[in-house]
């Protein structure tokens, strides 16, 4: 893989996770437990969608450097199949209950914030600019999801039970967040990408602090799933894409 191809793949990873999570959060529209949270949920989704657009637009421009034509953000979002998506397995997991959604959000936000902060120092000015902007937004996301984990974990016996179950169920999808591949390491070496291995310790510390305050147990490290970054997804992604991509595939080039 030449450096542009590596960069393209990396930008897909950066863009696909917020894109897929934004789609999941969009499923909450009109279903939030209270109006305030319904609005908050979709506002977080909107931030993530905005970030995904910036990453994928850049990915398409980089693609044009080595391919016959670069795809635009819409083509990348609506015309790739599940095997071509590079998002984390965590973000494609179904919404479940509010406890499941907030647990997924909390585990992701903590990682996302650390990643964006690290990328704000990238040698690639475009990456640094998108990341610095995104980090400001992710700070509020992390604050909100952390608050809810504490509120529900240290809440009623029912909410505590549901939070613990949600954290336990999602834990196996957190491992791949800190596992780089050769291309990612090469870009990190060049000061373009972030070395995700360095994010593991601060992430664990933050997660442990919040879960402890929430009276929840930190799951033990057992088997960790991986494959999202390589395009090997859980069965949930295909169903999500069926809904997300339906309009574009049924009515190609449709515009408002």
């Amino acid at each position: 893989m030449n450096p542009d191809e590596q960069l393209f793949q990396y930008l897909l990873r950066l863009g696909d996770s917020p894109l897929i999570l934004a789609q999941r959060l969009g499923e909450w529209v009109g279903h939030g437990p209270v109006l305030e949270e319904d609005i908050a949920q979709t506002n977080v989704g909107l931030d993530l969608l905005g970030q995904a657009r910036l990453w994928l637009s850049y990915a398409g421009e980089v693609e044009a450097r080595f391919a016959a034509a670069g795809r635009d953000e819409d083509q990348l979002a609506f015309l790739r199949d599940s095997g071509e998506f590079r998002n984390l397995l965590l973000v494609e997991q179904p919404n479940g209950s509010f406890a499941d959604t907030m647990s997924r959000q909390f585990l992701f936000d903590a990682w996302h914030l650390l990643l964006l902060r690290a990328l704000a120092g990238s040698n690639d000015a475009r990456i640094a600019g998108i990341a610095a902007k995104g980090a400001k937004e992710a700070t509020y996301h992390a604050e909100r999801s952390g608050d809810w984990v504490i509120r529900l974990g240290d809440g009623t016996s029912e909410s505590h039970l549901r939070m613990q179950r949600a954290i336990d169920d999602l834990w196996m999808y957190t491992g791949e967040m800190f596992v780089p591949d050769a291309a990612e390491l090469a870009l990190a070496e060049a000061g373009i990408a972030a070395d995700v291995r360095a994010l593991a310790a601060p992430w664990r510390q933050h997660v442990r602090t919040v879960l402890t305050e929430a009276t929840l147990e930190v799951p033990g490290d057992a088997f960790m799933q991986k494959g999202g970054k390589q395009g090997v997804h859980t069965e949930h992604l295909g169903h999500l894409l069926a809904e997300m991509q339906f309009l574009e595939r049924a009515y190609p080039g449709a515009r408002w």
Binding site: L49, G50, R53, Y140, R144
Partner: protein, 195 residues
């Protein structure tokens, strides 16, 4: 016999004439100062601080370059703001506008003009930057659920100025605002989050 002008020369003369009759940059800032933010119409896009520069293109003197920075990556008002800017400039006689988006340095609420902060408060939105305090949100929660933690910042109610307010949700009617409730006058209100 008079020399006939080549089309290229005519175009250059036209551009020159256009450049001479074009409005000044100061006038254009005033024009842009009339473009409201779609979500908070009491504040202009200039007061919001999202217009970073306005200048005539050096290579193409009849083209105006307007540099805009988004408040949030996913702000849905971005496209509407762009078309409002084009319309206002067209009405002022500037037909050719090139809008450029600049992400870095990222927009910050520090760029909101002082005058706009007053307007926000009068509109019912608490402007960014609350007062640091320790026990701002330790109110009794009737639902028996622990209150949301906040960053120890008390936000003054834009209606009664009380500092006894509490955070309801980190996200309000738009991503850039949080929802609060005043514990004295009991009114809910939006808080423009520091960013």
């Amino acid at each position: 016999m008079a020399a006939t002008e080549t089309p290229a020369m005519a175009a250059t003369d036209e551009a020159l004439a256009e450049a001479q009759s074009r409005p000044s940059i100061a006038e254009l800032w005033l024009v842009l100062g009339t473009v409201p933010d779609p979500e908070i119409p009491v504040v202009s896009v200039v007061e919001l601080g999202i217009l970073r520069s306005v200048e005539w293109d050096v290579a193409e003197p009849s083209t105006l370059i307007v540099v805009v920075t988004p408040t949030y990556s996913g702000c849905p008002a971005t496209e509407l703001i762009a078309s409002s800017i084009r319309e206002a400039l067209a009405a002022a006689g500037v037909a050719r506008v090139r809008l450029e988006t600049q992400l870095f340095p990222a927009w910050t609420t520090d760029w909101i003009a002082a005058e706009a902060r007053r307007k926000l408060r009068e509109f019912g939105i608490a402007p960014p930057g609350g007062v640091r305090t320790l026990s701002a949100t330790t109110a009794i929660d009737v639902a028996g659920i622990s209150p949301l933690r906040s960053s120890g910042v008390a936000v003054a109610c834009p209606r009664c100025r009380s500092l006894r307010t509490r955070l309801l949700s980190q996200f309000g009617s738009t991503a850039c605002k949080a929802q609060y409730r005043c514990l004295d006058c009991l009114e809910p209100f939006d808080y423009f989050k520091p960013h």
